[in-house]
């Protein structure tokens, strides 16, 4: 009797197991398919219109014709400035939180606001950037206004990723270093940060991804000039903004898809390069 019960139970368990196994597999497939369809659709429609002219010429007739060279430069500049500003601040903040302040009340409050910052819609950042950098500080629509705004947006991600990777460094390394007479600072610079390079890099990639695709915040702070910016105080246009303008005003479907495809390629490229560097640096503690 008991045996039969047991057998039944076993069968139920097995079939349940199968159900869950199959179920999760289906959902995984759906996720993957969605990704492939989106990227594939954009690439199929866009790649045919990407050519040397598109990459090296400046836009003509508001982007209806010509290429997007100035827009590519603008994108790189705005994203670059944003990341350059955010990286040292983000890493320093994360070090302060995990290594010095630990779980003080002040840190809990700051962390709470950092989390909120991460969830604020980008248009709000744009509005702030416009009011503060563009108008109040008189920077005008410029690469620097946009870069600063993007830096604010990217900071929470960067801090989070760096903090998480700092936390994974075993206490034993800190103890080992301190027991040899190292100061806290030496320990951080010579032992802890080298362990965290891959984690920090991941944060950077996420940050760059968010920055490069940002439209609303950039539109309000960088403006929409189609000229090549000669300094960080010039206005310019990023690819996302260009994409939005092309699509919203129905200027050219071909150029829209081409821009989108190029944007995807650039993001993929950055990810690949970062991954390569990351594996070069070695995973956290082995190899």
């Amino acid at each position: 009797m008991d045996r039969i019960k047991h057998e039944n139970l076993k069968r139920i368990k097995t079939s349940k197991n199968l159900l869950f196994y199959g179920g999760t597999g289906v959902f995984a497939a759906i996720t993957l398919a969605t990704l492939i369809i989106i990227i594939g659709y954009i690439l199929v429609n866009g790649l045919t219109h990407i050519n040397l002219e598109f990459l090296t010429q400046e836009p003509k007739r508001m982007g209806k014709e010509g290429g997007i060279f100035s827009v590519i430069i603008g994108t790189l500049m705005v994203t670059g400035v944003g990341i350059l500003i955010a990286t040292p601040i983000g890493i320093a903040a994360a070090i302060y939180f995990t290594e010095y302040a630990k779980n003080g009340k002040g840190v809990t409050i700051i962390r709470f606001f950092t989390e909120i910052l991460a969830g604020i819609p980008s248009i709000i950042f744009g509005l702030f950037g416009f009011a503060f950098f563009v108008i109040f500080l008189g920077m005008g629509w410029s690469v620097i206004s946009g870069g600063l705004t993007l830096a604010l947006m990217v900071l929470p991600t960067l801090i989070r990723a760096t903090e998480e990777s700092l936390k994974t460094v075993p206490m034993a390394y800190r103890e080992g270093s301190l027991s040899l007479g190292a100061t806290r600072w030496q320990t951080i610079v010579k032992v802890i940060i080298p362990c965290c390079k891959p984690g920090i890099l991941t944060g950077l990639i996420l940050g760059i991804g968010r920055a490069i695709g940002e439209t609303a915040a950039v539109m309000l702070t960088v403006g929409g000039s189609l000229r090549i910016p000669t300094s960080i105080f010039d206005s310019t246009r990023t690819m996302s903004v260009h994409l939005y303008v092309l699509a919203a005003e129905g200027l050219s479907q071909e150029k829209t898809y081409a821009t989108a495809a190029l944007l995807i390629i650039i993001v993929l490229l950055i990810n690949t390069i970062a991954n390569l560097i990351s594996s070069r640096l070695g995973g956290n503690y082995g190899n």
Binding site: A172, G176, L180, K190, N284
Partner: protein, 260 residues
């Protein structure tokens, strides 16, 4: 007996008086008095949670890292109170090195691990650093095993080799005292016996304080043994006395395996 004890002793390294340590409101060490002699091996034994590791970590102020620890009483190292105001912790830790329970080499090369200490203390001369690496690795009997792969990752070594590397790393700073917190508990018997053999040689140049769970180990390697129980020192004496003729009943019970 008493006369032999005094003739043996050349120097007092640590003089601990009325040491109390609290984790928050929990008192982990109670009224500890102890003398640790130079160029001797002192073993700290006792059941888990008796405070021996905590005590060890007061000697190089490693407990400073833990939040909520308060300490009173005095610990004199070379006749200076290490908890006194203005005492230089960096200098203390240079003179009082530590080897941990689990081997903890940095995720760097073997070479970089050894020179880490000298480098942070300002040694830049490449040939001097090379020299330190060879000298210390020979001292821990690791040189022959690793001399061809000094620039390979230290984490590729076996556990026993890693622990010997950690000892070498500690020696590279030229300490006077080496604190060892159950240095062989994570190692296999072969690696353990290698490290025990090493201890005797090291004792000629360094003062060693070793926490151990392993009674035989304490008996084999140490000159003095201190028995800890519930945060108190029950008894400290020459190792042969502790193991053959302890003064306290509790020590005898522990040593003969009646508890712990």
């Amino acid at each position: 007996m008493e006369t032999k004890l005094t003739t043996d002793i050349n120097e007092i390294k640590f003089e601990i008086e009325k040491l109390n340590l609290y984790y928050g409101s929990f008192q982990a060490l109670k009224e500890i008095d102890m003398t640790i002699y130079g160029n001797k091996i002192t073993a700290l034994i006792g059941p888990s949670g008796c405070g021996k590791s905590t005590f060890l970590r007061t000697l190089n102020r490693m407990n400073d890292l833990i939040q909520g620890v308060t300490i009173d009483g005095t610990i004199q190292f070379d006749e200076q109170d290490i908890y006194g105001t203005g005492y230089d912790i960096i200098e203390l830790r240079k003179k009082v090195g530590m080897v941990f329970q689990k081997p903890n080499p940095f995720p760097k090369t073997i070479y970089e691990n050894v020179v880490y200490g000298p480098k942070i203390h300002g040694e830049k001369d490449r040939s001097k650093l090379d020299h330190i690496v060879e000298r210390t690795l020979k001292e821990v009997a690791l040189w022959e095993e690793v001399k061809d792969r000094l620039h390979k990752p230290a984490l590729g070594l076996s556990g026993g080799q890693q622990q010997r590397l950690c000892i070498a790393r500690c020696l590279a700073v030229e300490p006077e005292v080496i604190l060892m917190d159950e240095p062989t508990s994570a190692l296999d018997p072969v690696a353990t016996s290698k490290i025990e053999g090493l201890l005797e040689e090291l004792a000629e140049k360094y003062t060693i304080v070793i926490v151990t769970h392993n009674m035989q180990q304490a008996g084999r390697v140490s000159d003095f043994t201190s028995f800890f129980l519930n945060g108190k020192v029950i008894e400290t004496d020459k190792t042969e006395v502790i193991f053959s003729n302890p003064a306290n009943k509790k020590t005898e019970d522990y040593i003969t395996g009646r508890f712990g």
